[in-house]
């Protein structure tokens, strides 16, 4: 297994004490596989992704185990992580402007990991950078390499960041909302590019998104997170067709459907996600969930299995109906 995460927890300090944003999550990712992580704000999906790269805030407390290519990453230290980042694991962020240095030319930035991890000479790295920009199908790669980030469009910048990410042939790419800031037509092309790169190099992808439909089209498996907890996980087509967790079902039913009659009532989820983690013993979705019973408040929900690799964390998982 390329990546095995077990009981990963992330706590952040707040004036009221430690605030658990990722709560003992376990999952794994095989070579060439694509796993989607979906959730609303505060679900812990981004913090899970950052923990894999050891990019959580310095004050955060990370516990549990992250095994990547047989190495334990929790407690590896900054020096060890620096050797992995941009080489074996790379990250693509939502807003390339925050990840690209505005003062350096795009080509030099794409060349940087090649010099750092592969020891390429400056001129070789530059040449390889232009090839990479061409590989991510940027029109006029030579011109793009000479440009500063601000001179590129949003879609072009995202392509440049992907070129930088794939330079050293990483085995895992973590993409956090990589297309959320882009127009739908550009989004579709960037996601198709990522699909193509995965198919040709067998790298694994962890795709974090708030949009179930994006994950539906581009991932093999999905995990649905809520308040730091993985509520449901399984093969994408199974989870979307036959969710076994009330939260997944609620997310699916709240979406406006393009073919529904105009003005049709959308199902809503009463209340709002918990803003701060409270140390209730039960299910984090208790109270907002239509199926809430006394047990949901008092006892953590068990993980119930349905078919191969399909898990739901719910006391009443068996009752969540077919769609």
């Amino acid at each position: 297994m390329l990546l095995e995460v077990a009981e990963l927890a992330v706590d952040l300090p707040t004036p009221q004490g430690w605030h658990r944003v990722v709560d003992r999550t376990s999952f794994s990712l095989a070579e060439g596989e694509s796993l989607g992580v979906v959730g609303e704000s505060g679900s812990g999906k981004t913090m899970t992704a950052l923990a894999l790269m050891a990019l959580t805030p310095e004050s955060a407390r990370v516990s549990g185990s992250i095994r990547f290519e047989e190495r334990e990453l929790v407690g590896l230290g900054e020096e060890g992580m620096r050797q992995l980042r941009g080489d074996r694991i790379a990250m693509v962020f939502q807003e390339p402007m925050t990840a690209l240095n505005p003062l350096h030319r795009v080509g030099a930035q794409v060349a940087e990991p090649l010099k750092l991890h592969r020891g390429l000479a400056r001129s070789d790295a530059r040449r390889r950078a232009v090839e990479l920009l061409e590989h991510v199908r940027l029109a006029e790669p030579e011109r793009a390499a000479r440009s500063y980030p601000f001179a590129l469009s949003g879609g072009e910048r995202q392509r440049a960041m992907i070129a930088m990410a794939i330079g050293c042939s990483p085995r895992l790419i973590i993409a956090d909302e990589p297309t959320t800031a882009l127009d739908v037509t550009v989004q579709a092309r960037i996601l198709a590019l990522i699909d193509g790169l995965r198919a040709e190099s067998r790298m694994a992808i962890l795709l974090v998104s708030h949009d179930l439909a994006v994950i539906a089209g581009h991932c093999d498996r999905v995990m649905v997170m809520y308040a730091g907890v993985i509520m449901e996980s399984g093969p994408v087509d199974v989870v979307l067709r036959q969710p076994r967790n009330p939260y997944t079902l609620a997310l699916l039913e709240a979406r406006p459907r393009p073919d529904a009659p105009r003005g049709a009532r959308l199902a809503t989820i009463p209340g709002a996600p918990p803003l701060t983690y409270d140390h209730r013993p039960g299910c984090p979705f208790a109270g907002r969930c239509a199926l809430t019973i006394d047990r949901c408040w008092s006892t953590p929900p068990p993980e119930v299995g349905f078919g191969p690799n399909h898990l739901s964390r719910c006391h009443r998982a068996e009752e969540v109906g077919d769609r």
Partner: protein, 322 residues
């Protein structure tokens, strides 16, 4: 005589001058709107879709008279907004309100909800304190908040509740038109559903007509009877929303429909455009450089927005798809 439409925009043109790139770069002029006309009828919400740079937000500002077009006119119930004396424009503005995308940035954090929501009432003459308070209460209740919420500050609310405060502010003058620019795209799915239900209710019960700008076709389809698709400052297709998305006639509409992620089928990706952003439009169709169906005529002559056989659909394409 039939009553005039709620909004009638005719031949709107607006060009922004851009500073050149670099210290010696030449200034360039970018047409944000290159002749846009449409009609919004009361009670029939109108959607505008298109990508960034299509001119949709410029159009919203001009319809609200927050910006003036270089040429063309906007009529609100038959009266030309840009010919009104200042005082009458101020009164007309009370009938048109705006909801922005960002429920965090658009509410002043230092003010109480009461003051924020009551702000548009200033444009109406003679609303006393008692009436103001009653209207704030009504507006908050209309959006599903409590009257007691009037005394709180924005930070005490979640994102979805803040967007409801913004909507309460937009409807407090009982406006005829609310222009909503990406009103739900910053919201989580579960909260977005509440805001969309609220917009449907306001249309049905409070007689509000929305001009809804969104990149999300499903959101537009949920609220709007008619939708216009914009590309580079022009309307390229307009018609009944459901027909438009079920059977796009313009290749760009089809590209948008195909690119929209859906749960029930994979997205279809158009072949890669030569360059995103790309070259400035020439004499021909502005979409020709990206269009997989473009022929010689498309590069020579720009098509006009013509009525199609099926009636209220119009499309600016020499070779429509349906």
């Amino acid at each position: 005589m039939s009553e005039p439409p709620l909004v009638e925009a005719s031949s709107l043109v607006k060009t922004y001058r851009l500073p050149g790139v670099g210290p010696f770069g030449r200034k360039s002029a970018r047409p944000a709107l290159a002749g846009v006309s449409f009609v919004i009828r009361r009670g029939r919400s109108f959607g505008i879709v298109g990508e960034s740079g299509s001119g949709k937000s410029t159009l919203a500002r001009i319809v609200l008279a927050l910006d003036r077009p270089d040429s063309g006119a906007v009529r609100l119930e038959g009266r030309s907004l840009f010919d009104l004396p200042r005082r009458e424009l101020r009164a007309a503005r009370a009938h048109m309100q705006m909801v922005f995308q960002d429920p965090y940035g658009s509410l002043d954090p230092r003010q109480r909800v009461e003051k924020i929501v009551a702000e548009p009432l200033a444009a109406l003459v003679g609303t006393g304190r008692a009436e103001r308070r009653a209207r704030v209460k009504d507006a908050l209740e209309a959006v599903g908040l409590k009257a007691s919420d009037a005394l709180k500050h924005p930070h005490e609310f979640s994102g979805g509740q803040r967007q409801r405060i913004a909507i309460a502010r937009a409807v407090i003058t009982r406006p005829k038109l609310v222009v909503a620019d990406e009103p739900v795209s910053a919201l989580d799915v579960s909260v977005q559903a509440q805001a969309l239900n609220l917009m449907s209710d306001l249309e049905r019960e409070a007689g509000v007509t929305f001009l809804l700008i969104s990149h999300d076709l499903a959101v537009v389809a949920h609220i709007c009877e008619t939708t216009a698709v914009m590309y580079r400052g022009r309307i390229v297709e307009i018609g009944r929303t459901e027909d438009l998305f079920a059977r796009p006639a313009h290749p760009y509409t089809r590209e948008l429909v195909d690119a929209t992620p859906r749960l029930d089928r994979p997205t279809r990706v158009a072949p890669l455009a030569p360059a995103e952003g790309g070259a400035p439009p020439s004499d021909g169709c502005p979409y020709a450089e990206r269009c997989p169906f473009a022929r010689a005529r498309c590069r020579e002559q720009a098509p006009t927005l013509d009525v199609m056989a099926e009636g209220d659909r119009r499309v600016a394409c020499w070779f429509p798809l349906t």
